[in-house]
Amino acid sequence: MTKASFDGAQTLVKCLEAQGIEYMFGIPGGATIPIFDALVTTGTKIKFVLTRHEQSATHMADGYARATGRPAAVLVTSGPGATNTVTGIMTAHIDSVPMIVVCGQAVTHMLGKDAFQEADIYGMTMPIVKHSYLIRDTNHIPRIVREAVHIATTGRPGPVLIDVPKDISMAPFQGDLEAPMELPGYHPEAAAPDPATIRAIGDALQRAHKPVILIGHGVIISDACAAIRALAEKIHAPVTSTLLGKGGFPESHVLSLGMLGMHGTAYANKAVVEADLILNFGSRFDDRILGVPARFGRDAVKIHVDIDPGEIGKMVKPEIVCLGDARQVAEALLKAVGRPDTAAWIKEINALKKDFPLHYRRTGGLKMQHIIEELYTLTGGKAVVATDVGQHQMWTAQYWKVDRRNDWLSSGGAGTMGFGLPAAIGAQFGRPKDLVVSFSGDGGFQMTMPDFATACNHKLPIKAIVLNNSYLGMVRQWQELFYADRKSGVDLEGNPDFAKIAEAYGALGLRIKRAADVRKVLTRALEYDRGPCIIDVQVHKEQNVFPMVPAGKALEDMILEPRPRRGRPPVAAQKK
């Protein structure tokens, strides 16, 4: 192909390929037909996956990126195609997930004139992208694509949107394919950790008697896992993680406290309350882990290691700030720290773990925890796990111990229902050899259920588990605990038979109704490898997730015990 025979669309596809994009998820339309044609005419290596909804396409790209650390692209048409991506872009943005979203757009001279399927997606998404472009000249495409992928994947990652008017796609390309980036204001390279700060942290650790290491998504993004593990083992400090930090430190490790926060383990929350030093690597002190910000770690020396200066002091005022990449800081720190004596503290922690374990009863109805725990046992925890949002998500976070980076995919900052299934699909594309499981609620599953077809088309052997309590369970829980059990808009009457849904797609549908069948059916699902399956698990309808730190309460006000009798909220909640 000579240079002059390229058009914009072909240039775009070539450039995305050159930037290492392997998968593109989406749906075509009038404004993107030239780009779809270019997928054929360029003979690109990029694999296009047709989805059933653009939101699912974004979650697939998101799941792919979380599971592999590499970005994928989304390709959608203008107007409604573009606006359908908004939820997925916001979900990726708040969780720092790289993604390239390419939207078709009406022709340039019609912009602002209410052209057919014109939506100002560039303007609409400004607050939820890391950066965005509206291409105004076909010759700018190589520079823009290069910049977009660079921005999406460096520093604190995030989604970048490229809006491509149809005339730009169709015009001949006469520019330079190697055009360099022009980003005078973008400097993502993390500065090397400041030696004085590292020494200060080392000294603080040496003085501490009750240190806790808190890890967030930054640890996974920067792959600080090995350094954090070595550090925790050297200073003998327990490690707790945010929802997105799961996998940054092996949760089956004796020093792991699991997740902290609103539905964290009791021992993690109690340890954080007791701690005299909290060393935070790459967590943004999200409100779900703080309880009351002013009371979080009140008596502890708080140390915040983050790559994003915008996160420092945003929620919590730390005593020591260390700007930098979590991995570099952890490695530097490893050399600078001594071996403080934490034996008494570890003893205290172990007592907390013994006195306040996660627990549930396997009798009195089938419990979500039972399913999660059983699958964990059957797989030895070796799986990529995607969750949806709700009660099942919190129980999965509690009971599924994640040992490896990139094995945990959950919408944290956004809490986007409908995320789980498409995220699992995206992950399976990125990790074809690994077992991929999704745990969804019956509510959220139905938000992106049509994309089960995509899993079927590609024969992806994902295990889509629907933890079906016939309720929007998490909302029902809040209504029960804080609104005198007045149920309002939470009954999912009219749910389909999810196993039959799978069968309707020609896939395997399984059903679990009794505790006695759990192992047998899950084993059957794990053995099946000819495509996806749905496992409809009909669980106890009115279980509540504990521990729970009620909204607006501090970690020490955590509610531990389930209600003693039906319909009667726990004591701590009644005071509200």
């Binding site: 400004m126 950066h131 005078p184 204001g185």
Partner: protein, 165 residues
């Protein structure tokens, strides 16, 4: 609880479409009201300078500056509140003043170094350049005559001496 005060920031940006909207979003989202905004070209091509005066809680301002700095097209952003800087603005004031009032209006103008740039049977336009306080003082005197229209450029600022802005 809210302890609002006025801040003056200068922001140097790559001259790309959308950059102003992105900056405005950061302020609006965090409840900062932009009082004045001056966008001008700078010595280098492709780079513009914005001088932003905004009213809001100072404890939020640090956050806003960090969020503005994070924007890909922002090259740097500095808060000049309380620093040694020259801050000036210009105002055009249209006063209802017939022949009888003219002399007094011109006296006021003269005192503040303002210039009369238009005059009709019934009105005058004064142009004044200076510190905000000085302009305010002049406007106060002019309220005696009816001020028909007022248009201010908003503040522009430059650090004194060799320091860059």
């Amino acid at each position: 609880m809210q302890n609002n005060c006025t801040h003056t920031l200068s922001v140097v940006v790559a001259n790309k479409p959308g950059v102003l909207a992105r900056i405005a979003h950061v302020f609006a989202r965090r409840g900062f009201n932009i009082d004045s905004l001056v966008v001008s070209s700078s010595m280098e091509g492709n780079v513009s300078r914005m001088t932003i005066t905004a009213l809001g809680d100072p404890s939020n301002l640090g956050q806003i500056i960090e969020q503005v700095k994070k924007l890909v097209d922002v090259i740097h952003c500095t808060d000049h509140t309380g620093e040694d800087v020259v801050v000036k603005e210009m105002a055009l004031v249209k006063v209802h003043a017939g022949p009888a009032a003219r002399t007094e209006v011109l006296q006021v103008a003269d005192h503040f170094g303002a210039e009369s740039v238009d005059m009709t049977e019934t009105s005058m336009i004064l142009m004044v350049v200076g510190d905000t306080d000085m302009i305010e003082a002049m406007l106060k005197l002019l309220t005696k005559f009816k001020i028909v229209e007022l248009c201010r450029t908003g503040k522009v600022l430059m650090a004194r001496g060799e320091l860059p802005t």
